[in-house]
Subunit: 321 residues, 2 copies
């Protein structure tokens, strides 16, 4: 590892690592096939390390859903007993080159996007976007949610895997980002343009993939209807960029900012795997009718402000050449 | 027909007609099947009425291409002889509820988009976008151009017709416009978002259409690669809106502004089919290396400034509810 003579020089190297990132979406695979830590009853979560008893309801709901999805329990009561009994081990997504939206709950058999930063050679992983409404990332775990997760495992994941392998070298994420920036996406709340560009890249290959017509249709329809689909691709891309930048010794730039509903944690480029944590804030928001600020959950989720910082650098590198 | 007591009242009615337009893309059909005037050797063109001898080279080139496409001549020399000999009749697109990009040259067997203004019940037609590079609308007529036109007649047109018929009531164009406005499209030089939204509406149906896989792939690829595809849908939609507004007696609002490379023509809401013409301007533009302002062609093309006026009204009606 190169040693830099000044902190400014090291930080400039961190920034270069971020700017020069070349994320490519290579594949979609079961999480356990690329994250060996996901053997036995292990769940990944957003934010710095935490315990079940410190989780708030949405993250606990996500855990219940993941336990049901994995078949570790037959119903909610059994799932909660298992979780409360300490039989499930928790681990931050960030410890295994992963990120996840909201609760970030990720289990062995969930399909994950595989993004490689070709400039640096490292990879990052993220689950796929489930769409809106009742979804696991917000803590829902009804039959509808589990059925969709099963479909994503059995149909969506393998289909996208097949299509991505038809593309020589995978899908260049920067090209999609550059186009979508000019259409107003900021890659957090707004991914509509990037999701459309992703669909148009996928569609011609999907049309001739060696798959039955119903599978092709269902995947095409899901991608057409899910205008936040690109969010998770962006998250894995940002993670791949930031993990590359974490290799620069002495860099003082923050490379992760993430919450788990209990604590807010950051990591710093030159300080390896160390977390710095503080109690998390509760966002002040707008609420559906009948809900107030008292119902708000302390903040949780993997890089958000960070994603915008990463994007800020990327924007310039992509727009200016 | 209702008679309005003041011009202001009539003009307000014209504006309401434009704002309330509900364009739906219903079908893609051979031009001759909906424009009976296209029997025998007839070509539609952009702008007010004109003669072959007044056409500039790009429009003449388009005519040569159309003659070759229709098989009225075996080669360019024969085609020019036919055209110079007065054996081809010319007619403005605007006389037959049609519009066309650039030269606007439209012949019997070219497929046209069929847009119905459901608020008023009238229909408008426009050829499909050929993509970029060597294309008929700019005056190119090489084998590559004719081959693409043949493919559009034999494959693209019938395929989109089939897909549009799978949609109950066709495709609501306003929904696409509203989404694309928020992504920066202005529907003349920039249709990238609208073309992507169009693709995502089409793709799931195309996937299960009763067609062979190669056809599905080729059409999906063409739509994915053609980011100006929506332009011509917008043109037919604008025409459908403006033709509805032309039914208001005494309205003084301009409802068509169009050039043919020789004259600039306008029509006015309350003045029926009458044209008001003047010599056309030559735009001052940027040029590829080796070309200068001296190479510029006098302006031609069907509603452009107008499309923006229409769009201005539409924007407000779509964005404000």
């Amino acid at each position: 590892m190169r040693v830099y003579s000044t902190i400014d020089e090291a930080n400039q190297a961190v920034i270069e690592k971020i700017k020069n990132s070349q994320p490519f979406l290579l594949d979609v695979v079961p999480a356990k096939s690329v994250i060996p830590e996901l053997n036995g009853k292990v769940l990944l979560h957003a934010g710095p390390p935490m315990k079940w008893e410190n989780m708030t309801d949405p993250m606990k709901g996500s855990c219940v859903g993941a336990v049901l999805f994995e078949g570790w329990a037959a119903d909610e009561a059994e799932a909660r007993k298992l979780l409360e009994g300490g039989e499930v081990q928790f681990m931050p997504c960030h410890h295994v080159s992963a990120v996840g939206p909201m609760g970030g709950i990720t289990s062995a058999n969930m399909p994950v996007l595989v993004v490689e930063n070709k400039e640096h050679g490292n990879r990052a992983y993220c689950t796929m976007n489930e769409g809106i409404g009742k979804v696991l990332r917000f803590g829902a775990y009804s039959e509808e949610v589990i059925n969709r997760l099963n479909w994503m495992r059995d149909v969506l994941g393998p289909t996208l895997s097949k299509v991505l392998k038809m593309m020589d070298g995978g899908l260049n994420v920067n090209v999609i980002i550059a186009k979508a920036i000019t259409m107003g996406d900021e890659f957090h709340q707004r991914n509509i343009a990037a999701s459309l560009v992703f669909l148009k890249e996928i569609a011609p290959y999907l049309t001739i993939a060696d798959l039955d017509e119903k599978t092709k249709h269902d995947v095409m329809k899901f991608l057409a209807d899910t205008d936040q689909f690109f969010l998770n691709i962006m998250m894995a891309s940002a993670k791949a960029a930031m993990d590359a930048s974490r290799t620069i010794e002495y860099g003082t730039i923050v490379t992760a900012m993430t919450r788990n509903g209990h604590e807010f944690g950051i990591r710093v480029a030159g300080l390896g795997d160390q977390w710095f944590t503080a109690p998390v804030n509760t966002p002040e928001g707008l609420f559906f009718t009948g809900y107030t600020q008292d119902d708000a959950n302390p903040d949780m989720g993997t890089p958000q402000s960070l994603r915008h910082s990463v994007l800020g650098l990327w924007r310039w590198s992509l727009l200016l050449g």
